[in-house]
């Protein structure tokens, strides 16, 4: 059975968050970061968590990834409670979190190597994803030699190469300059069209959210909770200045301002 078919069989909710809460202990007392957060993913959808500021969104991604534990509610992946990180949930970090002592190839094939795959096989598979993100010719380069956009391409290829069922992206383009950011959004859309996955994508940039999303969850600022949900069914690739796009942008920006 191919991975593709297998994924289709498990139709339904890959990730399910029910009344998720997260609080941190500080010297001044408990600090609530996430409160009663609910989410259900649909198959192969591009879901964007859109919210202001720094707090809450990253914590949600970290909990879904399994890096942090919930302090209330539950997060399930295919019906099973998430307790630790797992290769079935790939993460793309804002800081890229590449392994600086490994080349592009080394980074991308890392997951396969840890799983004990043979060198020839994992290099073949890694090459496929390096080609997919457009990094042919940079296989032997170390991350210090790559630009910000290229590093994030490596990050995407690395997460993809493990063939996860869900991709979690935590403001992956947040540290890039505007020009590169537009380019990377187009690239991500292309990659996602070529290799469909369920994606949960965090951003605080409204254009980015509208350009990429099938569905947008607008979050409140600390504690984070879902304020409103939008289903975006504009045709892809989206025109950033079409009237529908601009109307949606205005509406969402409007409700954002009132939450601040």
């Amino acid at each position: 059975m191919s991975m593709e078919q297998e994924r289709k069989l498990k139709n339904g909710n890959l990730i399910e968050c029910t009344n998720v809460c997260k609080a941190f202990e500080t010297p001044e007392g408990e600090y609530q970061v996430v409160k009663d957060f609910n989410l259900e993913t649909r198959e192969n959808e591009f879901l964007v968590l859109f919210g202001p500021g720094q707090c809450g969104k990253t914590t949600i991604i970290n909990m879904i990834a399994g890096f942090e534990r919930v302090t209330g509610g539950s997060i399930k992946s295919q019906g099973k409670e998430i307790s630790k990180p797992d290769p079935s949930r790939g993460v793309v970090f804002q800081s890229t979190a590449l392994f600086p002592w490994m080349t592009t190839m080394g980074n991308v094939e890392y997951g396969l190597k840890m799983a004990g795959n043979k060198k020839a096989e994992r290099e073949k598979r890694a090459q496929k994803y390096i080609d997919l993100v457009g990094l042919q010719g940079f296989e032997k380069a170390f991350p210090v030699k790559l630009s910000g956009g290229m590093k994030q391409r490596v990050g995407i290829a690395r997460a993809y190469c493990n063939e996860p069922e869900v991709m979690l992206m935590d403001e992956p383009f947040g540290a890039l300059d505007a020009q590169t950011r537009y380019l990377m959004q187009e690239e991500l859309q292309r990659i996602w069209e070529a290799e469909k996955r369920t994606v949960i994508f965090v951003t605080n940039n409204i254009e980015e959210a509208l350009y990429l999303a099938d569905r947008i969850l607008v979050l409140t600022n600390c504690p984070a909770t879902v304020k409103k949900e939008y289903v975006i069914d504009l045709p892809r690739p989206r025109n950033l200045v079409s009237p529908e796009f601009l109307a949606l942008r205005k509406e969402i920006t409007g409700i954002m301002d009132s939450t601040l």
């Binding site: 890096f67 990180p85 993460v91 800081s95 002592w101 840890m114 170390f142």
Partner: protein, 263 residues
């Protein structure tokens, strides 16, 4: 324009270096040749002659090169064994809290004692042979590498560790494929200190008890009132120390390539 300026800057540097070293050598020469200082200290020409003579002839029972060889072999054995132990222990202590709880208190009792202070007890324990000296150099390199490896493992980027977990690495794999390489720059900082500390320690050990090596050479010079032998020994000590530092830096350049931007 900028290029031209750089070249002239470099020339000035070299010229200044030549002037200041030349002035120093001249003062040394003049002082020893024409003042009373000459009774105490030999001049640069004599020292240079003694060093070259020592290469072909004998200082004590061996030529200078053999003395260098003795010292180097002692350093190499002690240094390699000591740093391997230090790296392993340091990484374990930096990464696993339980290892830190067990070993750190003991390490903190031992560490402030300079390796040189172990000389008398090591002679009682191991006798006058090579083992005592190698034990001392082991100590010198061990404590420095442990300290730096521990700091390196403690400072591994949590996000990078998370990335490895997300890609399916287990505990052991994280230690060997993430913690170890991420600590390499810090380990190298420790190795740099360790090699110069080992070099100093071997000299001290040879000065206290030995019949060959550069440390013996200078202390025998002292006992025979032979300032020429002491100074030529010091020159060789400086040369070897310099070469050791260069080797370590080159090794770091190669192993930490990924850590440096530029070409």
């Amino acid at each position: 324009m900028i290029k031209k300026k750089n070249i002239s800057d470099k020339t000035i540097n070299v010229a200044c270096a030549c002037i200041s070293i030349g002035a120093f050598l001249f003062l040394w020469y003049w002082g020893t040749a024409f003042t009373k200082l000459g009774m105490l200290i030999p001049g640069p020409v004599e020292v240079l002659e003694t060093v070259t003579a020592g290469f072909f002839g004998k200082v004590g029972r061996h030529s200078i090169l053999v003395h260098v060889g003795y010292s180097m072999i002692r350093v190499m054995i002690g240094f390699i064994v000591g740093s391997v132990f230090g790296i392993v222990l340091g990484l374990l202590m930096g990464w696993y809290r339980i290892a830190e709880a067990i070993f750190n208190p003991l390490f903190r009792i031992i560490r402030p004692i300079p390796p040189i202070a172990w000389i008398p007890i090591s002679i009682i324990w191991f006798g006058l042979g090579e083992n005592a000296k190698i034990f001392l150099i082991f100590l010198a390199s061990f404590s420095n590498t442990t300290l730096n490896s521990m700091a390196g493992a403690k400072n591994v980027d949590r996000e990078v560790v998370n990335a490895a977990k997300m890609l399916g690495a287990n505990e052991r794999q994280i230690f060997t494929t993430i913690v170890l390489p991420a600590s390499v720059p810090s380990i190298f900082a420790g190795l740099q200190v360790a090699i110069s500390s080992s070099w100093a320690t071997v000299l001290a050990a040879e000065m206290v008890r030995s019949s060959e090596g550069l440390g013996w050479m200078i202390v025998a010079g002292m006992n025979n009132n032979d300032m020429l032998q002491i100074l030529s020994g010091i020159v060789m000590i400086g040369v070897v120390g310099f070469i050791l530092a260069i080797i370590m830096r080159k090794a770091e350049d190669i192993l930490c390539r990924w850590n440096k931007s530029g070409n």
